[in-house]
Amino acid sequence: MRLYTASSEETLRARKLLTDWAADGILTKAQYERLEQGTISELRTTNIFLRLVLFLFTLISVGGAVALFFVVSRPSEQTSGGLFLIFAALCYAAAELVVSQARLYRYGIEEALAVCSVGFLCAGMQTLFFNGSFSSKPNAAEFLVPAAGAIFSLWVWRRFGLWYTFLAAMVFAIFLPGYWTSSHLAQHVTIAVFYAAGLICVAAARPHHHFDHLADAYSLVEAFLWLGIYLAINLQLSSLNLRTQWLGIGATTASEFARPFYWATWVLIWCLPPLVLARGIRQKDRFVIAVGAIVTILTFVSNKPYLGWPQHTWDPMLLGVLLTGVALFIRRWLARGPSGVRYGFTAARLSGKEKYWMNAGSAVLGLVSPQSITPTRPTSSPDFRFGGGTSGGGGAGGEF
């Protein structure tokens, strides 16, 4: 099913690890050069910047070509739908072709073609079968559009290994229950069940991929699914009826739910974070641990709205103290273990790559932090003008 052979991907992975180990000084230059010769892959890959730019220009070219075709030929709506489906097939065939012939791997071009094929498929189905417009009372059969989008995105994920198409499939799945039931409760439950079913499948598949090239891919997908389940059951955070909201018909509010369901979800948002964290720690899975931490923070943030308690301005301070305290405690606890290791975990940095990402991240965050922490100008009191923070580092500007 996968477009790339396992040996090709393993070779690429080994090559990447060799580069990291050589950069960290674990391998000598001579060793690196010798071992590198044994990790030559027929797959053609590139760096992240060129990958992004190639993706962008492929989108421009394909989008421009399709739009030009429609402008020149001016087809009817029914014909347009058929043409979109043809373009979807052409894009997908082109994506397969550039991989099989040019052996492109995460090169931007094949990715953009695959993404375009998903988009054109949905546009084609919507135009061909449902006259191309969304109405406030959708046709029940319209669920076929997001269903096809989800299935095709999953296929692209399996075939090309593009993580974001799995995310796209999860997003498509959000729209499905809206066509089947108007009950928001049922919609939340359906989506959570979808994601839970996906999670069971992924959890069943993962043990076969320990330490191989698919381990990270499955780890990421599992993390997405945990996050999806959490967002589906946290009624204070999830806005599942996105389609309705976009059309301005009205949003779902927590008070619309039956009280037993509402309080059951409150219990679940407290149960899920420890479960996710425990799973991540047990599996030593970085992405699942990260999602565990995120959903824990989200639970703290949404607890007061859930209970209907008033929020205080100092709540973020308490959260900050808690996060810092937990981080410091874990760091010290791990550092005091034998050789700085406890239960197979360490707080020490083992890879130079982490330092690179921290440096890059801190430089970017330094530019955006003042905007995010500076309080906004209160509108109720015109005399008191503390606020603003639109001008960078000093967190201040003319609005102050």
């Binding site: 421009i60 191989d212 996060l323 760091r331 890879s351 330094g366 530019l367 960078g392």
Partner: protein, 314 residues
């Protein structure tokens, strides 16, 4: 053959020593598993949440709790952070210096962000330099530059550069609505100052690893400024020429130094600028779309050639 099997094979071949094999195999199995990155992110989020809450509380409750208490709390926090940083910092060195402890950087972040909150509070309550807010920004930029170089911290360097940009009247959030000539000139002067400053500091060997931060910020501000000139209705010729020169320089720098972010800047900013020139006054959909198809394909061909020749993952 997964990486563990491959390591075993390399050991048998004698390409790596048994010690290297043991170390790399345990690293590949995640034994031990490093939580360093996660703990750093948690610390950063904690500091940011704390200062956000502090700013929100001060804004909301300052009139009830009084200026004296607010300033005392903020000043105490600032003094504590400063004391911690100056008492724990290692001797200054012009080279890259690791922090003395894992939490050192976060105490420094806390101090710098509290400084921002306190300064804003002081000015808004007491109007000490009323109407001269730019001087605060300049002083803040100066202080942050000093702290960045003293404690070798990229985050504070970014704060300094954005404060300096603020002093020049340059704010990212204001870009879309202020594309006038004066604004552009300030942006260019900012680029000149920061760029020349960065080069001089690097040549003198003062924290040369900061140079990448300078260069990325200068490149982006410069390209935005030049693009805004190209979008002018009149007198855009020189700006267009300057954009082409900047793109050429960025491309050459990116390819020779293998810093492909600059290749991406040249491709994207250059394409936007050239497209705006070619499509100026063109309203025929067919022509516009044909342009995008042809130029998109042309860009792909050029970029694929670049990627083949230079763009292997580092």
């Amino acid at each position: 053959m997964n990486i563990l099997a491959r390591l075993e094979h390399w050991k048998k071949e004698g390409a790596i020593s048994p010690e290297q094999h043991a170390f790399l195999a345990s690293l590949s199995r995640g034994e031990p598993f490093s939580l360093s990155f996660e703990l750093n992110v948690l610390l950063y989020a904690g500091v940011l949440a704390f200062v956000a809450g502090l700013g929100w509380t001060v804004t909301t409750w300052s009139q009830q709790i009084g200026d004296v208490l607010v300033l005392t709390v903020l000043s105490t926090l600032l003094a504590a952070c400063s004391w911690y940083c100056f008492s724990r910092a290692p001797a200054w060195s012009p080279a890259e210096t690791p922090g003395p402890s894992p939490v050192f950087d976060y105490v420094l972040y806390l101090g710098t962000l509290v400084w921002c909150v306190e300064l804003a509070y002081l000015e808004n309550r007491f109007h000490v330099l009323s109407g001269q807010w730019d001087l605060y920004l300049l002083a803040t930029a100066g202080l942050f530059f000093f702290l960045a170089y003293r404690f070798d911290n990229r985050f504070v360097l970014s704060l300094a550069l954005s404060s300096l940009a603020g002093w020049f009247g340059l704010t990212i959030s204001h870009w879309p609505s202020h594309q006038d000539a004066a604004y552009r000139q300030y942006a260019l002067f900012y680029c000149l100052l920061v760029g020349v400053g960065g080069v001089l500091l690097q040549r003198r060997g003062l924290k040369p690893h900061f140079f990448g931060t300078y260069l990325n910020i200068v490149a982006n501000v410069l390209f935005w400024a030049l693009l805004s000139g190209v979008f002018n209705r009149q007198g855009y010729g020189l700006w267009f020429l300057a954009l082409l020169i900047a793109c050429g320089a960025s491309l050459a720098w990116g390819l020779t130094r293998r810093q492909f972010a600059f290749v991406a800047y040249a491709a994207v900013y250059g394409y936007v600028g050239v497209s705006s020139m070619f499509l100026r006054g063109v309203f025929d959909d067919t022509v516009v779309l044909s342009y995008f198809v042809l130029t998109g394909v042309a860009m792909l061909v050029v970029l694929v050639q670049i990627a083949r020749r230079f763009g292997r993952p580092a």
